[in-house]
Symmetry: C2
Subunit: 449 residues, 2 copies
């Protein structure tokens, strides 16, 4: 055995802390606390379990309005950057990725808040860049209608340009802090960005030194053409939603080709596929757990949710019939394309009735669901990973923390034994976990020019 | 001795964590770390010292641009809500008050972030409501000029109305979480706010349940007429800047009279006067410490800073002459009125030269500075407190953590011995520390109507 053998490629795992878990009824399990969605202790516990299992990062979604049927389930409620600061304070290695919208924020504020999160976590922050498409959010920010899809993404692209420029407005070595001479900061190394664009005019510089990672890691999740373009331009990791291995392979290839067209290196974007797991000691146990969870969701909830994703009136969904044939036109551009497509594809491919579709999606709207033993789940993950369908997974266990505990105790050791997942952290920053380079600062850019 | 004797009125103490301390050269002290201003560990250490001394709260200022001469001193850099989440995670009782501007934020985002801070701190959050008056900030948010003073305060007042309405958009008992029936939230108890005002249209509700304190504590610091009006309408505590006891008494009387005109109860607003302390074992030691600190500030810095506060060209400030006689017209409405007035009053009252003024203000711009032994400082505090010139103090030690350590070890025990400062926390929320009632929610408002 040669010690010059390259170590095998390693997969990446994020834990997506969807409050009580992915399945809408997770809060009703005997060991669940209905208050978990607003309990910082819940998020800290989940993060600590994930850190003990050597996950790359904690991931938090976000919304700017109530987008769920709260009579039956929890919502994303606590603001991610504040919550992740608490998570960072209670952990030492795991990354902290928070979602923030480019639609109803200002780039200066977002640059500053994620840079702060990177400073306080000592280099573990990531920003999941999204646009916001629901009418409820629009009406919380002075608008009567949702901005159109192309406009949202144009704003998002310019927004992200500005944020990155602000992060680079201080050179890495601008801080002198020389007590003898009294020089604190070398102001030649702190420069305005003087951005004057279509959507924003931002003079800069940021009022905060460059962060441990240079830039917090940029994450994106868009599946539409505009979303993929934004990801190709800016994202270092994407949270994707693909139902089939071939689709995910094609998605990754296409995205990295787009990135290359922006002058980025080969395989610049890590594909982290959304994955919901429902684990049992036997396959039958796992299916039983899934069915018990689904049976705790009111059917009225499921029908409304399906109708919402598919953009049809709820009374057109008949539980024991297939979906109406006339669904399938592109939706109006303000829903979630990825979830629309994935949900419809699942239904058509298998000829599911609406009821069967809900079981197959575990009450969700488009992410892939794997139900089985730890061995079966590890096999699935290894298969996708080795086939190049994903660089890793954004894990959404059925219920939290129980589903993560089962994954950490059951699946992670198998992946480690197979040599595709770390047994120890090798670095301390999120970039190091993900194998991403630290972006050169302005001086680096100038030197290279 | 009767055990029915009312306990004496207790004073309140906030620690204002101005990075390395109030004096611009504090970072140059031998025991100071120049990186402290971006080190979460520094803020946590200061908070833990203050909590051990039973302070009411940690207070963080904020800016949306670089407003200091960074070649000579640190700045407020880390975003307060993210930083305070870390402070809350490392403490159990002390309040966490952060500054956020109404000028360049949206009320929905601010309502959500401070509500999140209140949830994660279990009822210890406060929001210091400010407007932003510097051109640098305006240019970071797409504007070429600073909005006028009246416009800023009109926006701030409506902004605060909206935030409070959002905080009340969930009744306290809206969350059911009944696993048996599957009812999660009583949607009758979560209602839109449907605000359509001059500056904002916000539909609501907030996507977050009501917080432990009902509302995070509202703090304000404005000294102008518009600022006082905003404080009278909304503030539960003000961070004031008065150089004389009589001025502070008058300020408190006037503010509470204005508050009464808004239908608020007697003494609705706690006056927390800004206070900088420079402590020595003897008075001579304290003066020596002050002089050493001042002598480490470049005089060019001091002149520029004075000129900025007074709104004159730096070349009009002569170090060993009195300030020019023609200073004294009201400034143009975009500076800080309080600091302008206080600085000028100090200079005129004592006939100081510019150099003497810098020593008297300890390099600052308007807050009162007390230099002396722990006993002298305790005497000053007790005098102000018993004369009704303040309900407490927003403490800005010369240097941090050393100046706070000296205060905690030297001054606090004297105040405790004199019976005017707590020896133990009696409650767990910031409202309890400050003796503020928990605001009734919407149901309470409806029942009272």
């Amino acid at each position: 055995m040669s010690d010059t053998t390259a170590p095998p490629r390693q997969l990446h795992l994020n834990i997506n802390v969807l409050h009580s878990g992915f399945v809408p009824s997770a809060w009703r399990l005997p060991d669940a606390d209905p208050h978990a969605f607003i309990d910082v202790g819940h998020y800290v516990r989940v993060a600590q379990i994930a850190e003990a299992a050597k996950f790359d990062a904690v991931f938090l979604a976000d919304n700017a309005s109530i987008v769920e049927q709260i009579d039956f389930r929890p919502i994303t409620a606590l603001e991610p950057t504040v919550l992740l600061a608490c998570v960072a304070a209670a952990t030492t290695h795991i990354g902290v990725i928070g979602t923030a919208s480019t639609s109803y924020n200002e780039p200066y504020n977002i640059a500053r808040r994620f840079a702060t999160l990177d400073h306080v976590s000592k280099g573990r922050a990531g920003w999941n860049v999204v646009t916001t498409a629901d009418l409820g959010s629009a009406r919380n920010f002075g608008r009567d209608a949702v901005p159109d899809h192309a406009g949202r993404y144009a704003r998002a692209a310019e927004f992200t340009d500005v944020v990155k420029a602000l992060w680079d407005s201080w050179e890495d070595d601008a801080l002198i802090g020389d007590k003898v001479s009294g020089r604190f900061i070398d102001t030649d190394k702190v420069q305005p960005i003087a951005h004057h664009g279509t959507h924003f005019s931002v003079q800069g510089p940021l009022n905060l030194p460059r962060t441990p990672q240079g830039h917090p890691v940029l994450v994106q999740a868009g599946g539409s053409a505009d979303g993929r373009d934004l990801a190709a331009r800016h994202a270092e990791a994407v949270f994707s939603a693909s139902q089939s291995l071939e689709e995910s392979q094609a998605y990754g290839r296409e995205l990295n080709a787009r990135a290359a067209a922006y002058g980025r290196g080969p395989h610049a974007v890590k594909i982290l596929a959304g994955l919901t797991t429902i684990i049992g000691a036997t396959e039958a146990d796992a299916i039983r757990r899934r069915n018990e969870l689904i049976d705790m969701i009111p059917w009225s909830y499921n029908i409304n949710r399906l109708a919402g994703i598919l953009g049809v009136a709820p009374d057109r969904i008949k539980l024991d019939e297939r979906l109406p044939d006339d669904i399938g036109l592109p939706n109006k551009g303000n829903g979630n394309h990825t979830f629309f497509n994935a949900t419809l594809a699942q239904a058509r491919l298998h000829g599911y009735t609406a009821r069967q579709l809900v079981y197959a999606l575990a009450g969700g709207g488009g992410h892939r669901v794997v139900v089985g033993t730890p061995e079966q789940i590890a096999d699935d993950i290894e298969h996708w990973f080795k086939a190049g369908a994903a660089d890793g997974f954004n894990l959404m266990p059925d219920a939290l923390p129980s589903g993560l505990q089962d994954f950490s105790e059951g699946v992670v050791p198998i992946l480690q034994k197979r040599g595709i997942f770390r047994r120890e952290y090798e670095g301390t920053t999120l970039r190091e976990h993900l194998g991403l380079a630290r972006p050169a600062g302005r001086k680096g850019i100038a030197a290279a020019a």
